[in-house]
Amino acid sequence: MSASWLLRRLALILYTVFIVSVLVFGITQALPADAAVTLLGENATAEALNAIRERLGLGDPIWWQYLRWVGHAATGDFGLSMRTGQPVGPEMLTALGRSLLLAVAAILVMLVIAVPLGMVAAVRQGKLADMATGLISYLGVSFPEFVTATLLAMLLADTLQWLPATGYVSPLEDFGGAVRHLALPVLTASLILVAHVARMVRSETLDVLHSDYIRAARLKGLPERTVLVRHALRNALLPVVTIVALDVGYLLGGIIVIEEIFAIPGIGRQLMVAVTARDLPSIQAGALIMSATYAVANTLADVAYAVLDKRIRYD
């Protein structure tokens, strides 16, 4: 774990962000009907459209818009949203905060359920527990998020009325309310993750259980429990770290639907709204922040992996 490795990973994150900015900027230029049209809607008259395009600087050549935007973005100023006139940077960052709150909660709930489930399924391969986990993970993986969300909302919020259906309450204002409001979306997101991760933990654990050093541990007379806990568990959990990092990526994407249904103004939904309203600064800022978060999550996962597994040497 040397400084040069960290330096290289930082360079990698910057490269990722650069590629995303070019990709997103390119695509958004090709969006039919620019922001001026969506802002004015039915009342768009020719001169009004030009006035707005002037104000938003849509008339300038593309590369100039890109350079100006990158220049500002470097200083943290992502410009004003064409839709609300609010500065985009802080808006997207707070939205990211809400998404991360939901993502981290979902990941924690998932780990508490998926890891033991996967391990038990591996240890008792072929028996009932294994079959049950298999079934749950197949079902979980096969329902799209919006179907699971709708069915869960219908069951828990409407019929049983245990949990509020939607709406977001910031934990700073009212922690109790925030927990109740986040319960349903977190449950939905974690259910889907449990399906993915339980299967992976099961296959990782199977790999470890079939490894030579576990056989050696058993043959040198260690009781089965010690073999499982001290040797198998540790090494099986290691890959979970990278899985969690990948999940952050998936969650940031997959959460768009969950945020849409449960009215959580996270970064996913902000991007959806921005794309439909052709709000370029918001799209660019949102996409950048999302991909930078994902890249950082990956780096953290690698660092965590190296700390846990001494074999990994980053020189």
């Binding site: 004015l40 809607g41 009342n43 609010q86 509020p164 939607t166 103004p265």
Partner: protein
């Protein structure tokens, strides 16, 4: 017609405010009687939570465009006049108003001692600056073509404003109640008009507390409001619920107190839910199938008539409005409008339609592509329904949908065959001159019928009730016969409130809310 009745008829005074206005443009019985709520003294204080289905992203009063934005603008700003129940007009910042003989010059008298939220006085100077900004194309305000044919606005003295019009116009007071005609401080217009996108300096009943468009907008009572009695609420929180089903569940579970609007699917559930009062009012909101009258095949009225004859309007109300609507007669004037003309409903007659098509030169049917944008969802539902209904008559219609932004940019006002969607307008003249006259701002069908233009122009200059009714009746008959666009259904506005919310009625215009008359009953939950 003596001047007294006309003055009485057209002018209004602020006398006897505080209760519902005793008179005004009376004598017009809307199809559904607005039950004036038994007025016990309304409870003061409390926090009202109201939900909207899309974010009020623009709070700049001159640029608002969708209902959630009209709601916020109405809370924070006032106009000279405002719409009351039954499409009548009542005084707002203007205390009284009166036209000259030729209806081309109107004088408005402002109330005494009006102040903006920042304490600065609100005078005729601010009114002039506001309307000059609205009429300036660079401001790109939707109100520009909807506040009436204003040529010039002048301040006679501190409290008197003179409007000079380009042509006689009887409906000016109603036009000035338009959603964008909100009075803003002159010094803000001169310095930075755009700052109103982020902050609010108005004369409205509430002041802006916090503005997070995609989550929650909070406004609190304006103690310096020109009517000390109102508003009764301490605070109003506007919350965004993009998903209709979830929004209805939130109301049932008591998370929110009032919904701006809901969908037919949810309305049935709300009607049966305990502690919830479902609200329904027929309105002039409609979907129209616009046909390019200047291009083949719709240049031939027989083709247009054939399409109109193939639509089963009762069924359409069921399919598109979920049963909550009134069948349309191919004119934009629904029963909720003042000059609605009772007319036998056009029945579907597929044989006649087929014959008309043959006569028009299409014996074995015609192939068409109907375009419907994806917002609101009812557009595509209408397109799909028309496609099925018109098939036996020989219309082979292919439905194509697209994002709303692309529709506005490439199809709207240019297309040959597409679905439009409009809220109810304040007056018959407003909707006709917005959509169907030759010089209409949004002339979609390019019908350009000279007789129709003349009827609408003449009706504008008349003040006599019966005379205007007759002219508008002829106009409606002409549209019914010529069918520039098929208008099969008008939507009822559907919403719901908790039973402890008092003083709120659903307004047919769709963009009027009057929350300053709303109060909370004893059962309302205490909210910090």
């Amino acid at each position: 017609m003596s001047s007294v009745t006309r003055r009485l008829f057209l002018s209004g005074t602020a006398a006897g405010l505080g209760t519902l206005p005793a008179f005004g443009l009376t004598g017009m019985a809307p199809a559904f009687a607005q039950s004036a709520p038994a007025k016990s003294t309304p409870g003061r204080g409390g926090v009202l939570r109201i939900s909207v289905d899309q974010a009020a992203s623009v709070i700049h009063p001159l640029r608002t465009r969708v209902n959630p934005e009209y709601l916020v603008a109405e809370l924070l700003y006032s106009g000279l006049t405002r719409l009351a129940a039954g499409m009548t007009v009542e005084p707002d910042l203007a205390e009284s108003w009166s036209p000259d003989q030729t209806l081309t010059e109107w004088t408005f008298i402002l109330r005494q001692g009006l102040t903006f939220h920042d304490g600065s006085p609100c005078t005729s100077k601010d009114v002039v600056a506001t309307f000059t900004a609205i009429l300036d194309p660079k401001t790109a305000s939707p109100g520009r073509t909807n506040v009436g044919p204003i040529k010039e606005v002048m301040a006679k003295d501190e409290r008197t404003v003179l409007f000079r019009l380009t042509s006689p116009y009887a409906d000016l007071p109603v036009a000035l109640a338009y959603t964008n005609a909100r009075i803003v401080p002159a010094k803000v217009i001169e310095t930075d008009l755009d700052s109103l996108s982020r902050s609010a300096v108005g004369t409205g009943p509430f002041k802006l507390v916090s503005f997070e468009p995609d989550r929650k907008i909070v406004v609190e009572r304006n103690p310096a409001y020109y009517d000390p009695a109102r508003p009764y609420l301490d605070r109003v929180e506007v919350l965004v619920y993009p998903d209709r089903t979830a929004e209805a569940s939130a109301l049932i579970s008591g998370d929110i107190d009032l919904m701006l609007g809901t969908a037919p699917g949810e309305y049935q559930r709300l009607e049966k839910a305990s502690g919830v009062k479902a609200l329904r009012v027929p309105s002039g909101q409609f979907l129209n199938v616009n046909m390019g009258c200047d291009q083949k095949p719709f240049s031939d009225p027989r083709v247009r008539k054939a399409l109109a004859l193939s639509v089963d309007r009762e069924a359409m109300v069921g399919f598109v409005a979920g049963g909550y609507g009134t069948p349309g007669n191919d004119t934009p004037i629904s029963p909720a409008y003042r000059f609605h003309r009772e007319q036998p409903l056009r029945k579907a007659d597929l044989a006649q339609a087929k014959k008309l098509l043959a006569e028009a030169g299409y014996p074995n049917g015609v192939d068409l592509t109907m375009i419907a944008s994806d917002k609101p969802g009812t557009r595509t539902e209408l397109a799909v329904a028309i496609r099925e209904m018109a098939k036996p008559a020989g219309f082979r219609i292919q439905v194509q949908t697209m994002p709303h932004a692309t529709y506005l940019d490439q199809v709207w006002k240019k297309g040959n065959f597409y679905v439009g969607f409009y809220n109810m307008q304040a007056t018959a003249d407003a909707v006709f001159s917005l959509l169907y006259t030759s010089d209409a701002a949004w002339n979609e069908t390019r019908w350009n019928n000279k007789d129709f233009d003349a009827l609408v122009a003449e009706a504008r200059t008349k003040t006599e009730e019966a005379e205007r009714a007759a002219l508008y009746a002829k106009a409606q008959q002409l549209m019914h016969d010529e069918v520039p666009s098929v208008i099969p259904v008008f939507f009822d506005l559907l919403a719901a409130r908790r039973d402890y919310v008092e003083g709120y009625d659903l307004h047919p215009r769709g963009s009027v809310f009057r929350l300053d008359f709303v109060s909370l009953g004893a059962a309302a939950p205490k909210r910090s």
